[in-house]
């Protein structure tokens, strides 16, 4: 399969209430690598395996949540084409100049009907990882520091009009629906969309308040590492929402937990493969508990209400 167009999630900019406390958490507990700080005071991170300069950006603010979530596209030409396609579809876009984010080229930003800002970009400086690109070792010391995920994997966003967001991702950006929870015929509670062979690159849950973050997810390689992450969370008094457990949707293994200022994150492993020719998997409301938390088979009281 040739991957073209939108390649993958690229970066997420998160709001935190106490920057120093959060930098310590993202560095030493989650185990991301700090790669820079800018004139605005924002702090940049990547995982040990990622090669581009940054994937998580923290901004001090007076409220928690997500500023924007971005996808990398395969070329400048694709960026220009998708910008034009979005405009033709009736979606207004804004160009953010190169360098506004460290080591990142021009970004095309647009606001979804769900209230979230999404960005596309084609350039971000490759700084490599500690193994290098020539005869690399299998892993390196930073692969064992903290939870140490492989990559920024996906996010789950809460807002109204999720079918309108779905249309933009499918009709303009080339994503496809992998799984959905049907609230009633013709209306979904939740949708999981992919631009790759991953189980999902972005997901949405219908929610009355716009622009809310449910979680940003980080990939681990094994269930053993998910259990190790749970131990590290307890050692470091991290606020765990639920887990370790398994999702029915994607059948990925998971822990939901919160960063020091209440932004939920996920340490995720496994998950099925998705291909654009597959029929979407449907879950119904009578099995919604198992869809979200496969072992408990019921939602916890926080799943539909606690967002930032």
């Amino acid at each position: 399969m040739a991957m073209t167009g939108v390649l993958r999630p690229g970066h997420a900019q998160m709001r935190v209430l106490d920057l120093d406390e959060s930098v310590d958490f993202y560095s030493n507990v989650l185990g991301l690598i700090e790669t820079g700080r800018d004139a605005q005071g924002r702090v940049y991170f990547k995982t040990w395996e990622e090669r581009d300069h940054n994937s998580v950006i923290l901004r001090q603010a007076d409220k928690a949540g997500i500023d924007f979530f971005a996808f990398k596209v395969d070329s400048d030409a694709t960026l220009a084409k998708l910008e034009k396609d979005l405009n033709a579809y009736g979606v207004a876009t804004q160009r953010i100049p190169a360098g506004e984010l460290l080591e990142t080229g021009e970004r095309v930003r647009f606001t979804l009907p769900t209230g979230h800002d999404i960005e596309l970009y084609s350039q971000k400086t490759c700084i490599g990882n500690d193994m290098g690109e020539l005869n690399p070792e299998a892993w390196c010391a930073s692969a064992e520091k903290g939870i140490a995920p492989i990559r920024l994997d996906h996010c789950l966003l809460y807002g109204p009009d999720i079918e309108k967001a779905q249309a933009i991702f499918q009709d303009v950006l080339g994503f496809f629906l992998v799984e959905h929870i049907e609230l009633e015929p013709g209306q979904d509670l939740a949708i999981w969309l992919s631009c790759s062979t991953k189980a999902h690159d972005i997901a949405f849950v219908r929610h009355p308040e716009p622009g809310k973050l449910h979680h940003v997810s980080f990939l681990l390689e094994t269930w053993e590492q998910v259990l190790r992450a749970a131990d590290l969370m307890s050692m470091n008094r991290v606020s765990i929402d639920i887990g370790p457990t398994r999702h029915g949707v994607t059948r990925g293994t998971t822990i939901y937990a919160f960063d020091p200022n209440g932004n939920r994150f996920e340490t995720f492993c496994g998950g099925n493969y998705a291909y654009p020719d597959q029929k979407p998997t449907k879950w119904t409301m009578d099995e919604v508990g198992a869809a979200v938390f496969y072992h408990d088979r019921k939602l916890n009281d926080r799943f539909l209400t606690v967002v930032t």
Partner: protein, 110 residues
């Protein structure tokens, strides 16, 4: 160890809370219920309470859920407040009515 007594006015339930722990952590440690538990980090607002009597220390909380006026009127997040005396509180958070009852939340989501 010094403990303060925290009383939830709606239910009359009380629990002991050390001055070194937040009201929410004290309640959860003992397996007690009454204040809805969300992110425990001052970000999501579900554990909002009004302190009706007593003194406390607080940390930064999301302005999405605690305005300047709220803060001045002792409407705060239980996850960011540590008691410095015995306290009484009322539960204000958005999950106060439906905590542990997901069905109404699904209806609201529709």
């Amino acid at each position: 160890m010094i403990y303060h007594t925290i009383v939830i006015e709606e239910t009359g339930e009380s629990f002991r809370c050390a001055p070194t722990e937040t009201l929410l952590a004290g309640m959860e440690r003992l397996g007690k219920k009454g204040i809805p538990v969300g992110c425990r980090g001052g970000g999501c607002g579900v554990c909002k309470v009004e302190i009706t009597a007593g003194s406390y220390a607080k940390r930064v909380m999301s302005r999405d859920y605690v305005s300047v006026d709220d803060e001045a009127a002792d409407r705060v997040l239980a996850c960011r407040v540590k008691p410095t005396s015995d306290l009484r509180l009322k539960v204000l958070g958005k999950m106060a009515k439906n905590v542990c009852r997901p069905q109404p939340a699904i209806a609201a989501a529709a």
